[in-house]
């Protein structure tokens, strides 16, 4: 670890997780919950908030303890800390809404195995002071929630003809059942990635030869 650290908090600390290093669309981390629970927008939102909480809480604690955790056992320590917060979330959701708990199923407990959270703990919280990692974790968590919503909204509109449970198209709409099935998750995420790649390439082409565009 470098002695001299850059402790300044900039807008970038917060926003890199939202867009430039979005955990789902750019880094492809934490894919399992992304695809599994996004068959409706409300599930996606709940999952995003649960993950945001675990990310924030574990990031804060790890950042506070970063100088007292021995290097050799750090991964095991992080996992135990994360597992503790996930257990809290698990019981909280069960207490608030049993329907939601049943809809998300084992995937709340599987937040433990979300490589994004462990990745952030290892790459960021263990090297930065608490305030900075809190801000970064919020950005990352919101980016993750945003990505989940992107998928959940598309899949619910196409697969069930509704959004957050509100009917959109009336009774004549024939739902695309495939979208709420597992295959739909892969296809929708693939389509989002294609869209982003297309936008990125178009942008870099415009920057390279601005004359050609006019």
């Amino acid at each position: 670890m470098a002695k001299k650290q850059d402790n300044t908090i900039t807008w970038d600390t917060f926003s890199e997780g939202l867009w430039r290093e979005n955990p789902v669309f750019v880094m492809l981390l934490g894919m399992c919950p992304v695809l599994a629970v996004t068959n409706s927008a409300i599930n996606a939102l709940a999952m995003g908030i649960a993950t945001l909480f675990v990310l924030l809480a574990s990031g804060t604690l790890i950042s506070l303890l970063r100088n007292s955790i021995p290097k050799q056992v750090r991964i095991a320590t992080y996992i135990v800390i994360i597992a503790t917060f996930v257990t809290i979330v698990d019981y909280t959701i069960q207490a608030i809404s049993l329907d939601l708990y049943n809809a998300l199923g084992a995937f709340i407990q599987l937040i433990v195995a979300n490589c994004m959270i462990l990745g952030r703990a290892e790459a960021y919280s263990s090297r930065n002071p608490p305030l900075k990692s809190i801000i970064n974790a919020t950005g990352m968590g919101l980016g993750f929630t945003l990505a989940l919503l992107c998928l959940g909204v598309v899949r619910e509109i196409l697969g069930a003809g509704s959004l957050f449970g509100i009917d959109l198209f009336g009774p004549r709409f024939e739902p695309w059942v495939v979208m709420v099935l597992p295959a739909g998750g892969f296809l929708v995420l693939g389509a989002w990635l294609l869209l982003f790649e297309w936008l990125k390439q178009r942008k870099s082409e415009t920057e390279l030869n601005p004359a050609a565009e006019s």
Binding site: V80, C115, G190
Partner: protein
């Protein structure tokens, strides 16, 4: 106690409810290590082994936890067991096949955060499988994982030889392939029942 027959559990885990393609568990290695068959197969075998070990351990630990009525510690206990099992596999591979150890690289320790393994331990607890049922379930899930990752690696090796538009080079096309594989595995729904 669940009453499903062993053959049903096995077929269900391998095909109808394939861990990767139907339940979305273990996607990180599925997308990350499926570039070549040569690395996909050992990765699958390592995962299968860790699944078997952690399934047995999880079953025993659950008995202890239930006996002492401390089920809220289940998640923490399971993840600790899985981490140790992965460490075991890592040491064994390093000792016997160093070349393979190097080619798997970072993905070996990442088996710890492979949700397929934690998912397996949790599902067998929810479904209240007996010891033998759990073992068969773990075997089926591991073989299902190997099947999925091998199919994917085969497809991606073919894909490297073909020309594609530049925007599809990257993860997007792998996800599309996964979607198609998942669609075809839906054909197995209801099998074994």
């Amino acid at each position: 106690m669940a009453t499903e027959t062993l053959s049903f559990i096995f077929l269900n885990a391998v095909l109808a409810n394939n861990f990767v393609l139907a339940l979305f568990l273990g996607l990180c290695p599925f997308l990350g290590v499926s570039g070549k068959i040569n690395t996909a197969l050992p990765m699958g075998l390592a995962t299968l082994f860790v699944m078997l070990v952690s399934s047995v351990c999880a079953f025993l630990i659950n008995e202890v936890l239930v006996a002492f009525e401390i089920e809220f510690l289940r998640l923490i206990a399971y993840i600790a067991v899985i981490a140790s099992a992965v460490q075991l596999v890592e040491m064994a591979l390093k000792k016997f096949t160093p070349a393979l150890f190097r080619s798997l690289g970072i993905f070996l320790p990442l088996i710890t955060t492979n949700c397929a393994i934690l998912g397996l331990a949790l599902f067998q607890t929810f479904k209240e499988y007996s010891f033998l049922q759990s073992l068969v379930y773990a075997l089926g899930a591991g073989l299902g994982f190997i099947l999925a990752i091998l199919l994917m690696a085969g497809l991606r090796e073919k894909l490297e030889l073909s020309t594609m538009p530049s925007i599809t080079q990257g993860a997007a096309v792998s996800l599309m392939l996964g979607g198609l594989l998942s669609l075809s595995f839906m054909g197995f729904a209801g099998l074994g029942g």
